[in-house]
Symmetry: C3
Subunit: 299 residues, 3 copies
């Protein structure tokens, strides 16, 4: 059989303390020794399919072509299907449970070309129990694909339209304010919003500060180019490495200080004292405004 892929990118909520990750690596290596496994992360919070789906979508455009194995699988052992979804005219195949986890990344890759249900036991390991599909179903499927097995041999072809969709929250402008949501809090405490920075410019004026309002508080946030531009005691909004607006501090955790979490609803609105898009930006620069209002705007 031809070697079809030589990279497996692997994502899970397995953590690192148990042997789960290493065993999946070992199974892949035993079946397809030519493959390099790249670990995306294994520290997804247990069962957090939403967070894992967003993470995979963020990473998708940077991954090496090949097979992706994504396992966050609270329904393991039940009737939920294991699937393999081909994207990019066969450039890559995404493998995992059909629970919405793969959907955002599939969308990022231009949608599914083909999909199969992983139902052929010839390409699975005999399982002492039903709870470790990563080892017994997903890793063998990935390795066999890499070794040249055709997608359709892994199980019956299914309609990609029937795959469980993921849910991506969309921001919306209403009455001059922007209703948004925290998509992700990273290691440094930066809180990514589902907001395009260009939209901030349009709604509030180019580079203008905005007021962030959430259930537990509110804060003025200043538009900056880099973390280090956020002055002490102030909150910044930066265009993050994925092109979205993120709430940040300089060398501190914005999410920790403000109490933001993945999923927190955040309203962005013009500053209460006439800043924002209604004021000429030449007069009320962000620095000027912030000097007067950053304390008053604090929660």
């Amino acid at each position: 059989m031809a070697r079809r892929y030589d990279t497996v990118t692997f994502l899970s909520d397995y953590g690192r303390a148990d042997e789960f990750v290493g065993v999946v690596h070992s199974v892949i290596r035993s079946l397809a020794p030519h493959v390099t496994v790249v670990d995306l992360t294994h520290d997804i919070a247990p069962y957090d399919t939403r967070g894992a789906g967003l993470l995979l979508a963020r990473a998708a455009q940077y991954l090496s072509p090949g097979v992706v194995v994504a396992v966050v699988d609270p329904g393991v052992g039940t009737a939920r299907r294991g699937v393999a979804v081909e994207v990019g005219d066969g450039a890559s195949v995404l493998i995992g449970p059909d629970n919405g986890l793969l959907a955002p990344a599939v969308a990022m890759c231009g949608g599914a070309d083909r999909a199969v249900e992983l139902a052929n036991p010839d390409y699975q390991l005999p399982a002492p129990g039903p709870t470790f599909a990563g080892r017994d179903v997903f890793a063998p499927a990935a390795a066999h694909l890499c070794a040249g097995v055709a997608l359709e041999h892994l199980g019956p072809v299914i309609d990609p339209a029937g795959l469980l969709p993921g849910i991506l929250p969309v921001s919306r402008v209403e009455g001059g304010v922007l209703e948004a949501e925290v998509l992700w809090v990273d290691r440094y405490g930066n809180a990514q919003l589902n907001v395009d920075p260009g939209e901030l410019d349009e709604v509030f004026g180019a580079g203008e500060p905005v007021e962030l309002v959430w259930a537990e508080g509110s804060r003025v946030a200043h538009r900056v180019q880099a973390f280090a531009e956020v002055e002490v005691g102030r909150v910044g909004v930066v265009t993050d490495s994925y092109g979205l607006a993120a709430v940040v501090l300089d060398r501190g955790s914005a999410a920790g200080e403000l109490g933001l979490h993945a999923g927190t609803a955040v309203t962005l609105r013009p500053l209460p004292d006439g800043g924002g898009s209604s004021a000429p930006s030449a007069v009320t620069t962000s620095v000027h405004l912030s000097a007067r209002s950053s304390r008053g705007g604090s929660a």
Copy 2:
């Protein structure tokens, strides 16, 4: 020299925050560039040779043939020996301290064929201090084996019967109850027992619920096929991915909720109100019983 092995599987209590794991990878790569290192885990609790030995035994049958380096080594720098143990007619060699850590996996692999003490300084790194045998002794031994050095060149042959044995707790039936022990609590809080599910069927009746009793409490546990079959507020017993009985919740930590830890002694006995093997299973199904007794059986 012939390339004898091309995989090193690596397990330790080094954690990931220091450079220990990366330095071991680097030493192996410097001496044997053709080798791929597979990390099993490095988050074993410091000095926990028991937990590491059990983990390695669980993983053993899934590992790629080659060399295993296992380092949990509270006696580093003392007279405890470093050893290399060949198993499977030379298919694999396990390397580590002779402190019982390797014993369960060696047993899983059918016992030791040959063993040597890692005493030949020609296959070690010069050590500034005696405390990092993973870098100075075990990694070089693994790399040289992979590069084709014969086992017996690493040091004097020793009698495998003289290796320190590991201790595997065995469950026992006594007066209609099963005395067991928690072997392992995984990331999700599932508590693996040293109990074959078939033994549960024999002692308590096929698929019958049982009462779990431990020092701090007791709970009725229902036999299930998958986590998702455990009803809210109830405790399940599933056949886990290694074929042993595990105490579980659906999307929750059974160990956390019940206060179970690796090593906790657990007694399994028939339900107090006539359930279990003494009652006809057609009359008192597990669902029926559990509806009446799951609260009453709680701690």
Copy 3:
């Protein structure tokens, strides 16, 4: 182009929970598929350039020749330069921000041969935002170097003497006492000092116990060869795996028990009751002394 290097050693404060590490691996693999990436650690405390620099210096002599990517980068997005520094007559190149992080390792490798600023956008990824230089600047530079791109093509040559230096604390003897500092606390709680054990012998007598004094307390510490030689309730000083003196317990965290941290100033002085270099070591052995004074010397 010739394949110039086949190993990238990678160190960061990215943590493992986000996709940062995996994305850097993926970018390198996409641009230079022949490369193996060795992770040194990614659990450096956020922004801790000092700790990362020391870690890299400790590891330097054990690394495979090739490219090192080190990213602890609080100034990302500002005018701080990204640099590539060649050492060892081209044996290795260290890549990262010019913030002192690389300096200790460069010194360990004999100093910089050449250096360039990573300013050529042809060897960078187009960045949606400026905050992920590891992905957009450092990883591509490393991969292109591995693939054979010449160092000077990555950007303008700069004077290595102008690179930001790292700061390595130096111990000093003053009035018969040794003023030292904790360089590093490892996973096991061993506290490495910036002290050569030979210096202890010279100042206090060969193998003699010393009194450790720090802001919050003091303790007698006994010179030992291995952790297991430290008696219960006592503190030991061992020659650690990098040849420096480290404060240790047997199977316990010395740093945790004593309240030592990276950066803690520690004074080492002779025992108050006539121990140390002024007493004949044949009469007051370390064991003898410790039996009388370890309690009295406790904080």
